[in-house]
Amino acid sequence: MLEIRNLHAEVEDRKILNGLNLTVSAGEVAAIMGPNGSGKSTLSYVLSGKPGYTITDGEVLLNGESILDMPPDERAAKGVFLAFQYPMEVPGVATMTFLKTAMNAQRKHRGEPELTTPDFMKLVKAEADALFIKQEMLRRPVNVGFSGGEKKRNEILQMALLQPKLAILDETDSGLDIDALRIVSDGVNRLRRADRAFIVITHYQRLLNHIVPDSVHVMSKGRIVRSGGKELALELEANGYRDYQDAA
């Protein structure tokens, strides 16, 4: 599904990613853990095509196709989805309008017909209910006045509606209370499928009790420095990152 080979990336003349290798197979949930500033969010931005990052070496293949030259909207239409660590507030754009515009833009990209309004409403209502998102919130401008947890749930709602091939969740668990953590995790688990891959970036083993990963990767100084099974997360929880600070 996703192959990252020897990826080097800079932002504002600072090298952040330093020869990162990672393979995630279809159906796999890969967790990435690592100290603050190790480059996890940078990786998620580079994968989704945020402007301002210079790729100095390496490649990223999604189902065998190189995506690094594609603009973000094209990557999204190919199935890349990023749940932001800090979701943006978009004043003046109603959440409903935003969701519909996004869904139809992706459909158009793929040559599919636009959704009718009743079909769209039905889809949104079902997914929003499952995530305990009130209809009233959907009429408000995107994320404006939403609490931290509501913003994260809104990200998962977008993911559920856009049905991506590769979903990257950047610290979706931060700022969630215990109930919200379960709601969000259930939302992710419902979307697990043989033809969909997840990269789950987190600092806490707790999330991985809910979303059980197939692989766990440790990132330090812009590289993956160790990979293992779900037990690796328990080890990190116990020992911290001190073994990896100099590994890169």
Binding site: S48, G49, K50, P51, P71, P72, D73, A76, A77, F81, L82, F84, P87, M88, V90, P91, G92, V93, T97, F98, T101, A102, M103, A105, Q106, H109, P141, Q158, L162
Partner: protein, 447 residues
Amino acid sequence: MTDMTPIKTPAEQALSRAFGLAAPTLPGDAGVKSLREAAFGAFETAGLPHRRVEDWKYTDLRVLMREAKPLAAPPTADDIAAAKDAGAAFATAGARRLVLVNGSFVAELSELAGLEEGLTILPLARVLGEGHPLSSRLGSLAPQGNAAVDLNTAFMADGVVVHVAAGVKIERPLLIVSRHVGAATADVTRSLVVVEDDAALTLIESFEGPDGVDYQTNSALELSIGRNASVELIRHQAEGESALHLHTLMAEAGAHATLKGCTLTTGAAVSRQQAALALNGDHIVAALRGTTLLRGRQHGDTTLLVEHKGTHCESRELFRTVLDGTAHGVFQGKIIVAADAQKTDGRMASNALVLSDGAEMDNKPELEIYADDVQCGHGATVGALDEELLFYLEARGIPEAEAAALLIQSFVGEIIDQVENEAVRDALMAGVMRWLAQRAGTPQARG
């Protein structure tokens, strides 16, 4: 006179000749005649305003108005036929349409039948010609020494005069369409709207004309709002892209009155909309809002003066400008709070969204406060589209151009959303969407 007199520009010379020729035939009694002469005299002394005239610093008419077009003749049958669809953009608003073609009132395109009880509508030409009592109210709100107003007063011949009797609430909006057809002329219109105590009116003005004709519009509206009366005023300036457009709103409001204004500017090569609003009583609520979208080499100026004279009045002035290409936007706003206008709550803001490196915005909000117990504030911002926001939308699959359009739409939508009548709101939003579609159709240099 002396060597202090500046050399007259060709436009100034042409205006003097035109006034000399037209004055004897312009309608009105002796009072109106002397009003004209005084106004033209003031204009001749000062000339066209230029950048050293504070109020016109950013809109140098000496440079921007190279020539004065000949005064428009009354429209021919062909002209009238060409204006049949005037105001079509507001068709769904169910408004009573009143049409001016090249500045002349055209009865056959206007709906004058079945007027509501207490509503009077007359062409200005008739009011002037008959010496109708309302003609004595003309000019009473005109500011001193304003070239656009002086020229308007000097040449005024036609327009729409509306009177709403005390206590009468007119449900159906009035739509005054100023339509230009044919060759480039100077179209002068003067309208007078008197809304008596406890009355209510919604008035829409639409300015439209063909692209590629450098006609000149000078339009002025005198609006008198009685005590406890309520007026909503909407204006869409969608002149042809080569036009020069000058518009002046002169308004006064009595105690407990409400005025809500919303303008949308998308047209003309050079435009200036100016408003002078006097809040003469206590407890008046006034909001002037507007949005201007310019591209190419368009120049658009919004200049406001709000005078708080009574106590406990609230005024809001909020303008949003979107600039693309090498367009130039201007906002000048001044709130004056008189010494005894205590408990005034006045706020003014101008926000500009600049979409290209070549576009330019000049913002000049000012407060002049002589009372001590007031709450007033102003602010001005100029910024580009937020890159982080654009990326958030693009990461969801929305192409960049569409994401930008969505953000622009929301920026100006917050102004237009304040319009009460839904069909009018939709018509204005459709004007914004047309602008966005035209922008998408022209190659852009993105900054």
